[in-house]
């Protein structure tokens, strides 16, 4: 992240939107939405300084409930769009949001290559373990056997081991939050936005309408702040164990982070030493030097 110093600190009210919230009562989106605003304010970012990119789903209906330069795109595609935005202007923090449906089904290729590429963006997974906006179908993160809309007998497929997948891709930042703990989510988001590579943030989120297995109460009972219990995010083995073992207790917090791996942009040889962004470089170029070899 590269944020210019501001003389005037932002107020939380700068992020207020006139558009009214339309989520269900008790939806986890309220908590995540609030934590995002807190994190941006605490990072001293005004709305005009940030780019917030939303995938499609209930969380995406938050794209007009907050200020900032926002984008609300197509299902599953938010990661490459956000990556393109960031690569074009490295001076603007870019945060992408996507649900578990989009991210682990239609857009799973983008997630994999986003992690592999280590794009310098933050990705926030709104994880309510189902397709909310299309009325409660199973996602690949819904537990196998769980009856859902379109799968009344329970889904026959295996549940995708999302954290095993994430850790197989050599991530540089993995965190997990819970929509009921705004303070914890705020801390995680601040660290994620300041992280130099691809920050994967799994936000466990209540879906009171369609998720009757991992409810707010269930998550509230099981989650804990692993960092508060002394977990060191540089400990890969411990991080993996915390991330994947969720039967008894669910470890939250910054599970894993390493800062020694350059992000995608900083690996681009042609961009080394350049101070300008691609956005600033748009002008007419004399290309005659490049055709000399063709004469």
């Amino acid at each position: 992240m590269n944020i210019a110093l501001q003389t005037r600190s932002p107020a939380l009210s700068e992020y207020y939107s006139e558009t009214k919230c339309i989520w269900c009562d008790g939806c986890g989106n309220y908590g995540i939405w609030t934590a995002v605003k807190y994190a941006l304010v605490e990072l001293n970012l005004h709305p005009w300084q940030v780019c917030l990119c939303y995938d499609v789903g209930c969380h995406g209906n938050g794209s007009d409930k907050i200020e900032g330069y926002r984008f609300h795109g197509l299902h599953g595609r938010v990661i490459p769009f956000a990556a393109g935005a960031k690569l074009a202007n490295m001076k603007v923090p870019v945060i992408a949001f996507g649900g578990d449906g989009a991210t682990f089904s239609e857009g799973i290729g983008h997630l994999i290559h986003g992690l592999r590429s280590n794009y310098p963006i933050t990705f926030v997974l709104h994880n309510n373990a189902n397709y909310g906006l299309t009325t409660g179908q199973a996602s690949s993160l819904t537990p196998q056997g769980q009856p859902m809309n379109t799968s009344p007998n329970g889904i026959p497929e295996h549940t995708l081991a999302s954290m095993d997948l994430i850790f197989s891709l050599n991530p540089t930042f993995v965190a997990r939050g819970f929509s009921g703990d705004i303070k914890l989510m705020t801390r995680i988001l601040k660290a994620a936005i300041q992280h130099r590579g691809f920050a994967f943030v799994d936000m466990l989120q209540a879906c009171p309408t369609y998720n009757h297995f991992a409810t707010h109460e269930y998550l509230l009972d099981k989650y804990f702040d692993a960092n508060a219990e002394g977990h060191d995010p540089s400990n890969l083995q411990q991080a993996k164990a915390f991330a994947t073992r969720v039967q008894d207790r669910i470890a939250c917090g910054i599970l894993y982070q390493r800062e020694d791996i350059p992000d995608f942009y900083n690996r681009l040889a042609p961009r080394q030493g350049l101070e300008t962004t691609c956005v600033e470089e748009v002008r007419k170029y004399d290309v005659s030097e490049y055709w000399k070899e063709l004469v």
Partner: protein, 615 residues
């Protein structure tokens, strides 16, 4: 127009491209216009491939089916390509003891062909050179047949090995050996070239893909994302080759969807970014096209056509993507479809495409095809002055940014439907680039009134865009003519042909042929294909005795768009859909047939009708 053609044939990987490239460059430097055309199967080594050079001392940009010289690097060429030789042509081959079958012996006699066996293995042994140098030997011999200066070839080949002295020496000895070879039976044979025009010496030898890449950089493209697919891959390769000099961000994406999304994100942020693909790759990009329409995000997509459906003929050419470009993707929205025609406008149209995209905040699809992408053109160095960078209603001035309201971004009442645009990171009111139907600030709004207003805003751009597009290019008898002059006066047109894309250059060559020079044959060439401007065509059609559509697709897709736009139906079509471009002699004979018919049926009414009056 004098024209000579040389064709190198062999297996992919045997070196026909390197022979072709060196001879092309040498001849260009000597003052010839060279047009190079490659045919090859979709594999890396083996198969039967060709590299043909058509040469003239005047502008030439087409390929003939008949050749003056055939260079066969293996016996398959002797089996497959003999029929292509012109009267008195030369067959140069390297297959020892080759016995031609009876029908070829007859052909050799009838056409007085000169068959030369070039003992390349003996020469390599004598020189102690590896097989890789057989191409140098052959090149040198062809060079001597063309009566070209040996030193010119030496300096051309030498430049490659300037730092490797031993290799340089060996190459020079091969050139001497090959150049001085004389076939014992045929004696000294030469191919008569017309006198050179030194003007060509300073031209570039460039493919359409290279031209497009240079044009893109010229136009301010700072990010390129792509997924390899012929014939769009050479553009990706060329942009990547230049990256250390241009500092352009290059991303080989995991698929076409990703490439389209990365480019869209980058354009939303405010840089100029480009992607290219072909056929089914563009299908994958089409959802992003729809998205960009809704968020009014300027974007440019290159669609490099090859025959379909599906993966079709991967390494061959077509113009079957026109309706795909004009019609694909969900919802109704304004888009612009333009097509490059050759190495000149492949360069010139890149700034134009980005300007149109930014002026109207729409997607512009730039069509090219395998023929343009990979053909080798003799190209005058580009004009670097005339292009502008026009970013439309983009607000960057900090003073003006202060006064912006969020509702300016998608103001439905904006003139021509084009509202103000400003970039993320600007110290100003913010907005949402909203993929759902939205109001002026980008908040989701589904009301009837808002839906109508926003639809009308986005589609109103079509009228302004259409009104501002240039007229199609008219040429009469091979000379460029002002469309406007021919609309009101200018006499009767014997034959009016209509085409677009790579067809244009071949038609130009046809009109300049000795057979048709001076005839009142008109060719109307469409660069701007959607929206389609038809007022000139409608007037010209009335002045023409006969009208014909020339396209490289099965349905006559431009003809369909013409009929859709103005009702003019063109039943007579010259269509080609076999993966090959129009060849000069083939198109010439199609046009001559029609001219003959035109003269015979002088009194008859023109063979075209308006759809609304047709029975």
């Amino acid at each position: 127009m004098p024209r000579i053609s040389l064709k190198m044939v062999g297996a992919s990987g045997q070196g026909i491209n390197s022979i072709g490239a060196i001879i092309a460059k040498g001849l260009k430097r000597s003052g010839y216009c060279v047009f190079g055309y490659r045919e090859y199967p979709s594999l890396i080594k083996g198969g039967h491939a060709s590299y043909q050079l058509d040469v003239s001392n005047q502008r030439i940009c087409s390929t003939e089916t008949k050749v003056n010289v055939l260079v066969a690097l293996n016996h398959h060429g002797l089996e497959l390509n003999m029929e292509e030789l012109k009267q008195g042509g030369i067959v140069l081959h390297v297959t020892p003891g080759w016995q031609f079958p009876e029908h070829h012996r007859k052909l050799i006699a009838e056409r007085s062909l000169h068959v030369i066996y070039f003992p390349v293995d003996d020469m390599l042994n004598r020189l102690g050179a590896g097989a890789i140098l057989s191409n140098v030997l052959l090149t040198a011999f062809v060079w001597s047949m063309l009566d070209q200066d040996i030193d010119a070839l030496k300096s051309l080949v030498g430049a490659k090995f300037a730092k490797k002295k031993a290799l340089l020496e060996l190459n020079m000895r091969c050139i001497d050996e090959g150049y001085s070879f004389v076939d014992s039976e045929q004696g000294t044979i030469s191919v008569a070239l017309p006198p050179p025009d030194k003007g060509f010496a300073s031209h570039l030898l460039i493919t359409g893909s290279q031209a497009m890449g240079l044009g893109a950089v010229h136009a301010g493209v700072r990010l390129y994302a792509g997924y390899p697919m012929t014939p769009s891959s050479p553009l990706l390769s060329f942009i990547a080759e230049l990256e250390n000099k241009t500092h352009v961000v290059v991303k080989q994406a995991e698929d076409e969807i990703t490439a389209a999304q990365i480019v869209s994100g980058a354009m939303y942020m405010g840089t100029r970014a480009l992607t290219a693909t072909s056929g089914v790759g563009f299908d994958l990009m089409s959802e992003t096209l729809s998205l960009n329409a809704m968020i009014e995000n300027p974007t440019v997509f290159v669609l490099a056509q090859r025959p379909g459906p599906a993966t079709g003929l991967p390494t061959w050419t077509a113009q079957g993507g026109l309706l795909q470009a004009t019609s694909c993707s969900a919802g109704e929205f304004t888009r612009c479809v333009i097509s490059v025609s050759n190495s000149q406008d492949a360069f010139d149209l890149m700034p134009v495409a980005f300007n149109l995209a930014e002026q109207y905040q729409i997607s512009v699809i730039v069509l090219t095809d395998k023929q343009i992408a990979e053909a080798l053109y003799t190209q005058h160095p580009y004009d670097l002055e005339s292009a502008d960078i026009d970013r439309g209603r983009l607000v960057v001035d900090p003073e003006k940014l202060k006064f912006l309201k969020s509702s300016d971004r998608f103001d439905p009442h904006a003139k021509g439907g084009v509202s103000l645009r400003w970039l993320p990171g600007s110290d100003a009111a913010t907005y949402c680039a909203q993929g759902d139907e939205h109001n002026s600030i980008g908040a989701v709004e589904e009301s009837s009134l808002n839906t109508r207003l926003q639809m009308e805003k986005r589609l109103r751009k079509f009228d302004g865009l259409k009104a501002g597009l240039p007229a199609p290019d008219l040429s009469i008898g091979g000379r460029s003519a002002k469309t406007i002059d021919w609309m009101d006066a200018g006499g009767e047109i014997e034959l009016l042909a209509i085409g677009w894309g790579s067809t244009g250059d071949v038609f130009q060559d046809v009109m300049c042929s000795d057979e048709l020079r001076g005839r009142r044959i008109a060719y109307l060439h469409y660069t701007y294909l959607w929206p389609l401007r038809t007022q000139e065509l409608q007037v010209l059609a009335k002045r023409s005795k006969r009208i014909v559509l020339v396209e490289q697709n099965y349905q006559g897709q431009l003809g369909m768009l013409i009929r859709m736009s103005c009702g003019l139906d063109i039943p007579d079509k010259i269509l080609k859909y076999d993966g090959r471009p129009f060849f000069y002699d083939e198109l010439l004979s199609s046009v001559m047939e029609r001219c003959a018919v035109t003269s015979e049926s002088e009194e008859k009414s023109p063979r075209f009708v308006y759809a609304d009056t047709a029975s």
